[in-house]
């Protein structure tokens, strides 16, 4: 890795950290559980690293490790987004709850 790439990576890290702090501190405690499962799903993006490892045929060990990693990350992506959706569907406004009951 050349120094420029490393510096650029640190820029991305620092800006993402700052932006993440700003965005996430606005999430109300009401939604902290969905927040956790959503960030879990999002960090399932390690899938992109796993996919390359599983498909590149570097060597058998890498391919096997990559396959397991793809499986684990996919569990998080699919499971994380799905369960977040399931949870968020349940958060209803007072008017909507009343309407349903009648």
């Amino acid at each position: 890795m050349n120094p420029e790439t490393l510096i650029a990576a640190f820029y991305v890290f620092a800006l993402a950290a700052f932006l993440g702090y700003q965005v996430i501190s606005r999430v109300p405690p009401l939604l902290h559980t969905p927040l956790m499962s959503a960030t879990n799903a999002i960090s399932g993006i390690s899938l992109v690293g796993s996919i390359v490892t599983a498909g590149a045929h570097y060597n058998t060990v890498s391919t096997v490790l990559g396959f397991v990693a793809v499986t684990c990350s996919t569990i998080n992506v699919v499971g994380g987004f799905w369960i977040t959706e399931r949870m968020l569907k349940m958060f209803r406004r007072r008017e909507d709850v009343k309407k349903e009951r009648h």
């Binding site: 490393l6 990576a9 991305v12 890290f13 993402a16 950290a17 993440g20 965005v23 996430i24 606005r26 999430v27 109300p28 405690p29 009401l30 902290h32 559980t33 969905p34 927040l35 956790m36 499962s37 959503a38 999002i42 960090s43 399932g44 993006i45 390690s46 899938l47 690293g49 996919i51 490892t53 599983a54 498909g55 590149a56 890498s62 391919t63 490790l65 990559g66 396959f67 397991v68 990693a69 793809v70 499986t71 684990c72 990350s73 996919t74 569990i75 998080n76 992506v77 994380g80 799905w82 369960i83 959706e85 949870m87 968020l88 349940m90 958060f91 209803r92 406004r93 007072r94 709850v97």
Partner: protein
């Protein structure tokens, strides 16, 4: 020849573009979570972002065959789908712990594979990033598995301690860090790499074992943070910006939640990790005198039926008794009689951040009826009946009144300011932390013993007849 080169670079730009788009969509997705009305749309953005990134990656120039990728995607999709489809909302903390483990394990595996393949040829910078990735990934994997086992009841939830534990853990940490540093100086030392890997797995176990179930909200947030940082380190190791962005967002989210949870218990992270809370440190608690007053169910029903305002205070006990639906039924009956019903949610009630909110939302409680600590505390003096359902420490007035209490300074829901308090409790024993709760001995407090769900069901009928 010329033509082929342009084709490759076009593909390269396209892949990078999908990553950039994914990064932006992830941030927009999290921004949506600032309000329940925009949250679902936000998640759809994030899902599209993920899809783009995956499509982009499938075009990556290093990939020569797809069978293992497709197998992994199908298997993972099936397992992930099955878990999310069938998991009950009360088991959310376990599921989340498990997904921290999966995420961290994936990061660790990619790191191991990279080191196995290239070794010292990676250069110092990449080896540093890889070492971070593998260290965080592996300790989070085993730590999360232990957290899962505790939450699922496979191992006892109480802190597991032994003599010299903190010393042992410190030595273990020192050895792990030692390997880490040695590896940075000598990137070719594969032995150091694999020893570090093993030690980190062990350290994860040792880190979570001594932590009691009541401290799980902090631990869950912390593991969330580590899993994210492991993914970010992967991004550094394989020079992938979207991994850095997503991992950092996850890492910071977990970090912010850890800080909030610690504040809500007035404890430091070090204290949670190394304090083995509630093990044998008793002595500071009040030996509250007097009698606990047992009340009869019909009286409670009458009291509630003719109240102006009733506040429910749920705790982990509501989750274990699966009582959230009955609570809402009772609230409906009261609402029909013109009683104002509110719910008071303590940040650390339950086993993970926001646990109670999700359970009540599942039972169709509108989110505008859920109040945070700062909002509801000034309202307790206007409350006729506060009903505590399976919560203990979060309503313990000792935290406010007794500076010697182990939970001194922890912000509490001040239910003792309500005109009457009814505590639904299984039996006369102490709560999870083993602390005496002086609330139970106050004059305005009545105890209703028995299974919470059962008591609440009977209360629904009694209020209807009142």
């Amino acid at each position: 020849m010329e033509h082929a080169a342009t084709a490759v670079s076009f593909k390269y730009y396209f892949v990078e573009f999908t990553y950039l788009l994914a990064g932006i969509l992830f941030i927009m997705g999290l921004k949506g979570l600032s309000h329940p009305d925009t949250a679902r749309r936000g998640m759809h953005y994030a899902e599209i972002g993920m899809l783009m990134a995956i499509i982009g990656t499938l075009l990556h120039r290093d990939i020569v065959s797809y069978e293992w990728i497709i197998a992994g995607l199908i298997l993972g999709g099936a397992i992930g789908g099955a878990i999310s489809y069938w998991v009950p909302m009360t088991a959310l903390p376990q599921r989340t712990a498990l997904s921290h483990a999966f995420g961290a394990f994936a990061a660790a595996l990619v790191g191991i594979s990279e080191y196995y393949r290239e070794g010292a040829a990676l250069g110092e910078i990449k080896v540093t990033a890889l070492a971070f990735e593998v260290l965080l990934g592996s300790l989070t994997t085993t730590g999360s598995l232990i957290a899962f086992a505790k939450l699922q009841g496979l191992v006892p939830g109480a802190p597991m301690t032994f003599k010299g534990q903190n010393f042992f853990n410190m030595a273990l940490l020192a050895a792990t860090v030692g390997c880490f540093i040695y590896l940075l100086v000598t990137p070719a030392a594969a032995v150091a790499f694999y020893i570090m890997l093993g030690l980190a797995f062990l350290f994860g176990v040792m880190l979570v074992m001594p932590i009691g179930a009541a401290d799980m909200p902090v631990v869950m947030s912390l593991l969330n943070s580590y899993a994210g940082l492991a993914a970010a380190a992967t991004g550094f190791a394989i020079s992938n910006n979207v991994l850095i962005i997503a991992g950092t967002l996850d890492g910071f989210s977990g970090f912010i939640l850890s800080v909030l949870m610690c504040k809500a218990m007035n404890r430091s992270i070090t204290n949670v990790l190394f304090g083995a809370f509630g093990s044998a440190t008793d002595g500071g608690g009040t030996q509250a005198g007097g009698e606990m007053r047992e009340v009869n169910l019909e009286d409670v029903a009458t009291q509630m039926a003719y109240a102006r305002q009733v506040v429910f205070v749920p705790g982990y006990g509501m989750a274990t008794a699966q009582a959230q639906h009955v609570v809402r039924e009772l609230a409906d009956v009261l609402d029909e009689r013109g009683v104002t019903v509110k719910y008071a949610i303590h940040p650390v009630a339950g086993r993970m951040p926001g646990h109670m909110n999700v359970l009540l939302a599942e039972a169709n409680v509108p989110y505008s009826s859920l109040y945070e600590l700062e909002q509801i505390n000034p309202d307790f003096p206007n409350t006729d009946v506060a009903v505590v359902i399976g919560a203990n420490d979060v309503v313990n007035p000792d935290a406010r009144d007794n500076p010697k209490s182990p939970i001194a300074g922890m912000p509490i829901l001040e239910v003792d300011h309500a005109k009457a308090v009814i505590v639904l409790k299984r039996g006369k024993g102490k709560g999870f932390s083993g602390l005496e709760n002086p609330l139970f001995f106050k004059e305005n407090c009545g105890m209703l013993y028995g299974d919470a769900k059962d008591s609440l069901t009977r209360l629904v009928h009694a209020v209807q007849q009142a």
